[in-house]
């Protein structure tokens, strides 16, 4: 009886040890798996962040290209940056579609001397980006020199791997 119970105890001790080892093994495996998941998530986040940085740089480059095209009154260069359904609100409150805005770009008056974005901040929302910035324009209208600053918001969406502007609004800074 004692022998049998001793054998049973020994067998149970062995099973417990094996079970402990198995559970330790499982535990280690779980830690390794969690580590892998965490690493993969971190790598994914890093990739997303770098991808976002790249997209931000692309959008800001498009904003500069837009300014340069406006400066040269080159509506053909502006056109590909804008969606066909563009909604544009000018700083005098005029609402324009793409055709009207492009016609406005080509107007001989005013004579533009300098255009620049003083600041531009990009914020991403799902597959879209919003640029909030300050536009500074210097020129001559009817023989008179002028300078003004507008606060603008441009909304861009990614379509077929290209960013296009779908909405834009400007407000004259008077405060």
């Amino acid at each position: 009886m004692d022998l049998r119970s001793g054998a049973i105890d020994a067998a149970q001790a062995l099973m417990n040890a094996q079970s402990r080892r198995r559970s330790e093994g499982c535990y280690r495996m779980k830690i390794v798996l969690c580590g892998l998941v965490l690493l993969s998530a971190l790598a994914g986040n890093a990739q997303t962040a770098s991808s976002r940085e790249a997209q931000q740089a692309r959008i800001l480059a498009l904003e500069i290209a837009w300014n340069q095209a406006v400066m040269q009154k080159d509506s053909k260069a502006v056109a590909p940056l804008l969606d066909e359904q563009l909604i544009y609100i000018d700083d005098d409150g005029a609402v324009m579609n793409k055709a009207r805005y492009l016609a406005n770009v080509q107007e001989p008056e005013p004579r533009l001397l300098h255009i620049a974005n003083e600041s531009a901040q990009v914020r991403f929302f799902a597959a879209s980006a919003v640029v909030i910035g300050i536009w500074r324009e210097q020129g001559v209208r009817n023989g008179k020199a002028y300078v003004f600053r507008d606060r603008f918001v441009d909304t861009w969406i990614e379509r077929n791997s290209s960013w296009i502007c779908v909405a834009s609004q400007s407000t004259l800074i008077t405060h």
Binding site: G93, V95, F125, A126, S128, V153, V166, A167, L172, I173
Partner: protein, 149 residues
Amino acid sequence: MRPMVHALMLTCALVASIAAEDNISSAAQSKVLALENAWNIAEEKSDVRALDLIFDNSMIYIDEDGALLSKAQFLAQTKNTHTQMQSLVTQTIAVRMFGGEMAVVVGSYRARGMEHNKAYLREGKFMDTWVLREGAWICVVAQSTPLRR
């Protein structure tokens, strides 16, 4: 015959999918426009609590004078006792949906009220950007541009 049946089934599925998408888009538009209306009512009543629910915490608001306001600044301005809005009437010019998760509302506004005991009338255009977050539409960017004739 079978290819024709398949083509017909495919067409039906496509039409059904487009119709479903249109319904979703239309429902989202209605929700966003209802929120625009709620915003007007809340602003008329200086109801900061209601406005707080409509705006994202990181909302950016560009005021008529070109000032950049945070949500907290906009809400504080709404509570300002020196300015009392009596009526705010808006008219929607366009609502555009982008991928079911973003909407841009463009419209005109006409606001009447009292500021430092003087009556005012302000007219302009606005553009509000809404995003769908956790099943609810919230405003992330809003801008006003006064009419300059």
